[in-house]
Amino acid sequence: MRIFYAVAIGLLCFFSCADEDPINLEKVLAGGSTSVFAEFSNAFQFPAANLSPIELQNHRRGDVAFESSFVTAPSQINAGLGPIFNQNSCVSCHGKNGRSPFPDSENDLLGLLFRVSIPGINIHGGPKPVPGFGGQLQTKAVFGKKSEVSVKMNFIEIPGSFSDGEAYSLRKPIFNFDNAYIPLPGDVMISPRIAPPVFGLGLLEAISVEDILKHADPIDLDKDGISGKPNYCWDELSQSLQLGRFGWKAGQPNLLQQTAAAYLDDIGVTSPLFFEESSKHQIQYDGGMDDPEINNELLSLTTFYTQSLAVPVARNQDDPEVLSGSKIFDKIACGKCHVRNFKTGTHREFAFLSNQHILAFTDLLLHDMGDSLSDHRPEFEAQGNEWRTPPLWGIGLTKIVNGHSNFLHDGRARNFQEAILWHGGEANQSVLNYKNLSKKERTALLKFLNSL
């Protein structure tokens, strides 16, 4: 590993050129001192810029783990795939650490999967697993085993128009399931989820609970129409309910558990945290002789990789149209939930995540997004129509990194504008305001989103 020069970017609060206004770095460095400038396809693949040499080595080892393809046991390398799974590696869903596109073929769902449960709650207050299916539908199986289901996709186009008369159309996906290895129960609740980007997650994990709860207003005491509700989910390690931060409904309390759950449910790889196959009690079960299939070290390295990726800087922040779009973003109250600024707390383990000014554009809280986006499936405190505000940093690079511009929890939106227009519930007024903007103003707002 090469020599590493730690440079405190934070010391360089301002950088100015002769005859120009100073540029406030805090408006550019979305990930604080972790930030990198990158406007090409590897933009989400850089290590945080402020790692120590040892951290950099661990990041690299985690990188290898993140890209490793698992195969059926027994194998001398990467054993433990399945027996039922969604994809065989982390990177299969999070291509270049980014966002999965909406699949264009039912034969390969890429980073789209389906969480399932039946009415009621499990012993920790979480989703009640579906007998014979658990909490997630595995759409692939190792050779000779049967996947749980196949997925069929159809779409409905929903037309609409702006106040100025311009028309738009929204695409609603309809999912059907067949070839189930045993019949799905009639009361099953199914929630589609698309794989989100994985950079900057360590910073979100480093925000203090108190700072997140400052934005919470579950019963809308200030009567601004925006609630912000914390989700409390089961933390396997501490055996207690903790604030949820990760996943589309904030159903995971930390990155270690998020990573272990992904290994288990998505790849079929057991770990010391979740050491029973998702297929236990099903006919596909392999007997569990090799569980756990990865050790604590590998789980920690993969987790660390997601904690230690750099956030790409925001771009063109001095462009007049971007500035105008930024003002509109605030004016129509997008920033009420997509909270721009946070300062991370002091991280117990990793100094590089501590006390960073970040521009994540999320409050990490649940909000009612209306019936149109509802998955009709609760997850701990989150109801069907409630979703955690997703961060917006880096979204303008999605096209360069992943070759598409599909957004929202199931990838239904084909561009930023459709993503905005799908918002409902607490965001109804903001969407109405957006529809009432002039074409020029709408374009400016979209340009602002594209600069993030």
Binding site: A18, V36, A49, S69, A73, N107, F143
Partner: protein, 350 residues
Amino acid sequence: MKYLKSIFVLLSIFNFISCSKDSIKPAVDYSDVLSNSTNQVIINTYKDLNDKSKLLLIAIDQLKSNTSTGNLELARLAWRNSRIPWEQSEGFLFGPVDQQGIDPSIDSWPVNVVDLDAVMASPDVLNKTYVDALEGTLKGFHTIEYLLFGENGNKQLAEFNTRQFEYLSACTQSLNGSTQQLFDAWRTEGQNFGKNLIEAGKVSSIYPSQKSALQELVDGMITIADEVANGKINDPFVQSDILKEESRFSANSKADFADNIRSIKNIYLGSLDGSGSIAGFYTLLHQSKVSLHQKIVNQIEAAIAAIESIPGTFTTAITLNRPAIQFSQDQVRALQLTLESELKPFIDTF
């Protein structure tokens, strides 16, 4: 993927937010370099890959219909030949190869041997459609390699059977489909992804500026240098674990590594024959950077030479010739450092 020194990241940010008023610097048009990189290097490499993978199918079918030692050697040679353009494409692993999920179908590793044995033992009809639907770890270069060369690289003619030939043929047809898809995705007559580089900075391109397209290219070079030095060489070498070696069955690792470096060379010089196009990437280094240009060329050649002069196979050298591997790794790292700390920051100033 990349392990930039903070100082370079900092420089990048400085260059990014520094005085970039158009009035300070006259706009320079880099479309000749971008067009040349796309048409002469990238698309031609993918065309070559597609052609060579078709020749591999011919050789496999020849072996299937006439199972002889000579035809087995020809099939193995055809595999090595098709591997060359693939490895020479890894300096630009962006765009369709990743975004359309093509890479796993071509180059997944390791091979899922348990499932492969189960496929062989099944009564299933083995054809292209069947293989297309399988996981990446049951098809592509390494599965074909495993079947052609065997676990220890010394598979005998007697160890082949009809079922394996059917699978080899179906696998290679599936590979043909992937290489065709990749070629079609880039070329003008197909989906024309190439226009994103050629028309960078225009609304028709995903790249907001020519500079970001050039950064894409230079970052691709850095990525593969890093991958060769700190992944492909490093993991089996440092852990003294031949199981971590990617092209072990065919003992093709040295060729893989050298062709990866040639991928850098091809983009850098702007041609596939090492001659140096008049619109090659290197022409961005104007006269004040002649010494940097010479340094990069020398380091590319030194890296290739060091890799190719590792005695024996990479597998045996892990045990028997460690200094030679160390030396080749050092050469690749030196090249990576130059690309990362000198070429990239220079492009960042555009």
